[in-house]
């Protein structure tokens, strides 16, 4: 796997994680 492919693979995982975390933050979650 090339570095570029690895970055794309990471993006497909990490960007949804960020969005889902934001959508489910109710202000009470300890970070």
């Amino acid at each position: 796997m090339t570095i570029v492919a690895a970055i794309v693979e990471f993006a497909f995982i990490l960007i949804p994680i960020l969005l889902l975390t934001w959508l489910n933050s109710d202000g009470s979650e300890e970070t």
Binding site: A6, L20, L23, N24, T31
Partner: protein, 171 residues
């Protein structure tokens, strides 16, 4: 599977609201997150054969789950157990359909799985759709009981379905 791993993290979140969402989602994807650098370094995926024993085999998933859960013990045993379960959920969800059946341990000749990889792209989509819907129902029920806003729940479900659909598009 792809979107179902996010669904698993959120389903566990709905039962353990004290656990950080980001941690559960990272945990649910941990074998894949580990696979990427291992494949880049040439340790996992090989040019001639699929290889993910160090990130996805049963033994290693148990190891990764335990190590990550230990990092969260100070937040309470229940949170650590939720993190552990999120990592292990990755193995359970990959068990029916994976490019190669999952090894018992690295370089083991014993492999676990249902060998459904050859059922075709659309059938794969249908199987993951069923799994995702079940996980989303768990999530919705838990999120509602914790009074998460309808907009947040709806946004989460739309995003999950979009990720699931996008993953199977040929472009």
């Amino acid at each position: 599977m792809y979107a179902a791993h996010f669904g698993a993290g959120l389903a566990i979140k709905s039962r353990m609201w004290n656990a950080p969402t980001w941690a559960l989602l990272v945990a649910a994807f941990l074998p894949d997150i580990l696979w990427i650098p291992l494949a880049t370094l040439g340790i996992e995926s090989q040019p001639t054969a699929w290889h993910d024993d160090w990130s996805h085999s049963l033994l290693m998933v148990l190891v990764w789950a335990t190590l990550l859960a230990l990092l969260f013990v100070r937040r309470g045993r229940a949170v650590a157990a939720a993190i552990w379960l999120a990592v292990f959920s990755h193995f359970l969800l990959d068990l029916p359909i994976h490019p190669k059946d999952l090894a018992l341990y690295p370089h083991s000749t014993i492999h676990l799985g249902m060998g459904l990889w050859g059922i075709g792209r659309f059938n794969y989509w249908l199987v993951e759709s069923c799994v995702l819907v079940v996980l989303m129902i768990f999530y919705i029920r838990g999120a509602r009981s914790h009074r998460l806003s309808v907009n947040s729940i709806a946004g989460t479900c739309v995003l999950l379905l979009a990720l699931h659909t996008r993953f199977f598009l040929p472009f």
